[in-house]
Amino acid sequence: MSSKYEDVIIGLEVHIQLTNLKTKLFCSCNNDYRGKEPNTHVCPICLGLPGSLPVVNKNAVEFATRLALALGCDINKSFWFFRKNYFYPDMAKNFQISQYNKAGGRAFADGGKITIKLNSKKKELQLNRIHLEEDPARLVHKGSIATSPYALVDYNRSGVTLIEIVSDPVMNSPEEAREYLKQLKSIVQYTEISDLDLDGSCRVDANISIKGHARSEVKNINSFKEVERALKWEIQRQKNLLKRGKELIQETRHWDDKRRVTIGLRTKEFEKDYRYFPEQDLVPIEITKDFIDQVKKKLPEMPNARAKRFQKDYQLSEFDSEILVLDKDIADFYENGVKSEKSFGPDEYKQYCNWLMGDISRWLNDNNNVIKETKLTPKQLVDLIKLINEGKITGKIAKTFVNEMMKGTPILEIVKKSGKSRIADKDKIIKVVKEVLEENPDIVNDYQKNPKALEALIGKCMKKTDGRLDPEITKRLMQKHITEISAKNSSED
């Protein structure tokens, strides 16, 4: 770890929407509010109308249990909800129903950990707790929040289930925070409680301090990607102030993702201002061992365990396995593919992994897509690897198929359409080699001094044939012919 950050302390509060629920936390309004007309997924409960009564969504409790188990937290046997009181238009009731781990209250679960790996060093990051709460409404401003003459309120999001995951202040760099979030995202995906690729499905507040100085809390970091950037900026801000001999104050700051700076909010919020007290409209919840056991039984294999199994079952390296299992959809794709072909062994397992993590992942990244949204099937990749290994196409050509493969076109059809089957016929290759040697006397001369010129000549051959020549045979034949020419040239001298 670079010494640049050794005195930095970071703790994260991550809010995750349970997007895979069908209804909100305390009412049966449809959870799927994205892209819907404003204030159409609302009812007296999530609008906070007088006399309405909340009722807890049973599946929200199960989802929270899943996550608690996956993170290794201790689930509290009994807890109740609290009212967190504040005035803000995003909460129609003037309070948020949340959990509180003081005043006799308990979180949903305590402890737990997330293991990260950075520069091939493992580190266990201790969690403090996780708890359930409701999402506030969405505010729409005319222009910026500072100048908007009013706020428009859409209560469709109000009451959607959030799980807050609070870490201890145990991270020492923005990179550690990034890896923490990467692992957390993976675990959430495996538990199938939320799709964190959905816009706005996670929000992060970060507590940041330099050892021995006051901390600031940066709010409003609205995507995992922004966290590393916001942290780097805030750390720099604090260090610059200290360098100039100024002292830091404890404050809440707002991450402005357009200007990419943090702004002091000049508001002093104290916990007692929230006047937490038990929510009397909801009765306590008791979680039995039976219930936990049932949820545990349904829980799929988690990424850590899966990576260990991949090393054993497919003889992949620790490095490959850990990257491969990170995205559950990719890992499922991998297993479906390699298991479907009986002739595959360790070499093909590794090949299949390389394709998925290399060209396919690159395509997904470049096109801002995820594998389940494409038409690529595990079988296509099996066919592709078989064709390469049978010598029918070259690996280089195969790479040019990726775009077409993602549309679901069968490999054989792509090969036929492209006319790019591999050329392994000796006579055909010799013809190309001779042409290239004749056309490039300069490079041939150069070869006398610089044997690396051979690569340039092979490149010319490939260019002539759209890369269809078998690279091994071409190299052998080129070497043979160029040696012959060189011998002839020197005897003539």
Binding site: L21, K22, T23, S28, C29, N30, N31, E37, P38, N39, T40, H41, V42, C43, P44, L47, V55, V56, N57, K58, N59, A60, V61, S78, W80, N85, F87, Y88, P89, G104, L139, V140, H141, I145, A146, S148, P149, Y150, A151, L152, V153, D154, Y155, D273, R275, P278, Q280, L282, V283, P284, I285, E286
Partner: protein, 101 residues
């Protein structure tokens, strides 16, 4: 802390701010006396030994785990949702600006 201090002017100012109430000076004086009386009445409870009594968190004891199934219902129409709102715009509720100058 004495009863008097508990409802000092600062405390009343603080409480009225949290409750978003604009109080006149007379109201503040009146309320601080009333609140002091209420608190001292409740302080009678301190005479009892409650060291072996579990705190009551809910008025109805024994009731627990009231859940509903995760099945969507029909929500209100936008028109109904906004029906009683005094300020609205384009299907939204309209609220005062967030940041004051």
């Amino acid at each position: 802390m004495s009863d008097k201090e508990e409802f000092s002017k600062e405390t009343i100012d603080y409480l009225s701010k949290l409750a978003l109430l604009d109080l006149t000076e007379e109201e503040k004086v009146k309320l601080s006396k009333q609140l002091r009386d209420i608190i001292s009445y409740f302080k009678k409870l301190n005479d009892l030994d409650t060291s072996n009594v579990k705190p009551t968190t809910h008025a109805i004891e024994g009731l627990k785990n009231v859940f509903r199934e995760d099945i969507p219902w029909k929500s209100l129409s936008n028109e109904d949702a906004l029906k009683n709102a005094e300020h609205k715009k384009d299907g939204y509720f309209k609220a005062p600006r967030i940041l004051k100058e």
